[in-house]
Assembly symmetry: C2
Homo-oligomer: 415 residues x 2
């Protein structure tokens, strides 16, 4: 069969959204070119675990070519898309021109520092494997430096860790870091005085995990405090120079570590498209996920802005996955000359861990916290990780950690 | 008990030699300071597996603090030793001065390019996790680039991999790379034509694995050829500019990948000591492993030069481990006023894998090759890897690879 006459679908980005679109077209009579600047798909909800040395990069990343080995209608290309020509329907990649019939833009986002250049320069972020490994190396190095620091004030600032943002990522990072210190670092550093360490979670609003019911917010704060996390609500940041954080009230926190989890915005590629952008630079899309005026181009996942019931959809993996499926179905409808369907988000609820054997969850309208929520979290995350081998290895890790209170190896690698 | 009056032993380097010395003193009434520039011990014999994406960095590296958690007489310090003052018996580290009663220098070696600056600049080496990961990222990127290269000549040069050095590391790397291509890359890259790929092993001498019996050399060459490795003996290199290798006879091989495994020499720290150095810059030591004229300083492992029966001891982990034990015992003898014992190497034989389920071995004077040798290799290596958890995970990997012909995840990470 000559497959060159089949419709050509180009998908940019192999995150949750792009992956789901590609899978949704696996049995369709189409040619797919999937493009990503990395050769691996990343299970981003567990990226904070890499930063606190709880999981290894390889356990949450999986080579894209291996994922699609059996999908014969798909061709993967590693590279960065240089430009998109919507009028003539082609993209530029690795010095070549690739024409498309349908285009899916699923390029995700990048960290939004809201113009705080000093934080972008001096702080840490959790965006991809590189930034997570950099954070891990830095965290571990702080303990090494503190171990031979004689000056108590300097030691205290080395052992103060500030996390900004009280959303799921900030909450999970703070809880896991608190636990790493009290269960693991005290064993690796016998001279370490836990009272000299501090994990501080800053949130500008009056509550952690804002959009969720009050009983879950309270359970989250309680579980975090049990892990020795110092929660500071209604606290705005002014500046961070790598030595100390300056807060809105003018007070300062001496620290060499600030992890910023407080925002996501559009990528440079999206900013260069010349299309209408909404809050955070996300591309405004039709309810069908099409780019306005470009019916053959879809934008999905963190790159897309769509409001439902007057509220913008959150930048979450669950939204991205559902939009990926929806885009695949709408492309098939277009190919078959059928009317397109608007996207509707089904909220599966909240799920966040706060260290070993504690989590908060809201599923099917029911709130859980503590050990049961943690079991749900472990089960769902292992189930969603790609690759049977990775599932086994990550499950082995978590069982091991559960019984031995010992995280995965804590390597400091050069960058 | 006031432990400050106990003899203070400073060990520089936590490779095989330094680790063994520290362990040999675990029950002794001494204070030990173990120093390394990394926070982890590296199982160097398996470093080539990281380079060919067969094992993950974390599976062959283990945090030093975790290894010595239970050894209460040991204190670990991460850092690079700035200077050693043998007259006043102190070292400089992280801006502090550390006095010693006994000093053990176990700093290993670095890659010897024998003055070929062009190879050092354009080639790859397998010295530590960073260089191995860099090699892996490059190897995988060559396949990605070749996948969208239309020019057949250019594609061939992207898919040509030259390994220099026919010792165990070169042989193991070439065999594992040949197997990676024929069993794994062909699946990840369905368009890849295996006939366009080449793995070339260059050796200046007339034989691979020089010092071993002829039947083993022949078995090695046979197993490598079965993995499609192009073995070129009596072949000297003249130059490598990142585009092509120039050989001694003036001919050229077009390639973007040259992995240099042909030599080890002393580190910069050893070169700066101002002591007598032998071949490769190694420090000449007494048969007791002491530095001549400095009875309280020992040099062991790859950093030390000692001849036995007229032949210099090889730079192998087996020598390093035995010397580490010997140095610990001689230090205890000195503390107890007993005469020191000279070091004698017990050769445990050769062991090298040539890809999945094939290896060559010489143990207790008997030569093995093929599957039995591979089983011995797997058993001995898993046994020697540090950490029960790592052993389980590596064993799981190898069993998985054995049945599914699929290596560990092939991530390209930014450096």
């Amino acid at each position: 069969m000559n497959t060159n006459n089949l419709p050509h679908i180009v998908i940019i980005g192999a995150g949750f959204a792009g992956l789901e679109t590609a899978r949704g077209l696996s049995n369709a009579p189409v040619r797919i070119t999937l493009i990503d600047k990395h050769n691996h798909h990343l299970f981003q909800p567990l990226l904070y675990q890499v930063a606190i040395a709880g999981l290894l990069p390889s356990q949450i990343a999986y080579p894209i070519r291996t994922i699609f080995r059996r999908q014969k209608n798909l061709n993967f290309q590693m590279g960065e898309v240089g430009a998109i020509n919507f009028d003539e329907k082609y993209i530029k990649l690795n010095g070549s021109v690739i024409a498309y019939d349908y285009l899916v833009i699923a390029v995700g986002g990048r960290t939004n520092f809201f113009g705080f250049d000093s934080i972008e320069k001096n702080g840490f972020q959790l965006k991809d494997l590189e930034t997570a490994v950099k954070t891990r190396n830095h965290l571990l190095s702080m303990f090494e430096q503190a171990s031979h620091e004689g000056d108590a004030e300097k030691r205290k600032s080395l052992l103060t860790f500030v996390i900004v943002g009280g959303g799921p990522t900030g909450v999970e990072t703070a809880g896991a870091l608190g636990e790493l210190i009290s269960h693991v670092m005290v064993k690796d550093f016998p001279q370490l005085d836990v009272n000299e360490t501090r994990v501080i979670l800053l949130e500008a609003a009056a509550n952690l995990i804002g959009p969720y019911p009050d009983e879950l917010r309270k359970a989250t704060a309680k579980l975090l405090r049990r892990k020795n996390v110092d929660i500071r609500l209604n606290t705005k940041m002014e500046n961070y120079n790598g030595q100390h954080v300056t807060l809105g009230d003018g007070s300062q926190i001496e620290t060499h570590t600030l992890i910023w989890t407080a925002g996501v915005k559009s990528t440079e590629m999206v900013d260069a498209l010349g299309v209408e952008q909404a809050g955070g630079g996300r591309v405004r899309v039709e309810p069908t996920l099409q780019l306005p005026g470009r019916s053959e181009a879809f934008v999905i996942g963190d790159a897309a802005f769509l409001a439902e019931n007057g509220l913008p959809l959150p930048m979450l993996s669950t939204v991205a996955i559902q939009q990926g499926k929806s885009a695949a179905q709408n492309i098939l409808r277009m190919i078959n000359g059928k009317p397109l369907m608007p996207f509707h988000y089904k909220d599966p609820g909240l799920l966040a861990t706060i260290g070993r054997n504690a989590a908060v969850a809201r599923i099917w309208g029911i709130s859980f916290s503590g050990f049961i929520a943690w079991l749900i979290w472990v089960f769902l995350h292992i189930y969603r990780i790609i690759g049977f081998r990775n599932r086994i290895v990550v499950m082995f890790n978590w069982i091991w950690d559960y019984f031995f209170y010992d995280n995965q190896v804590r390597l400091i690698t050069k960058e």
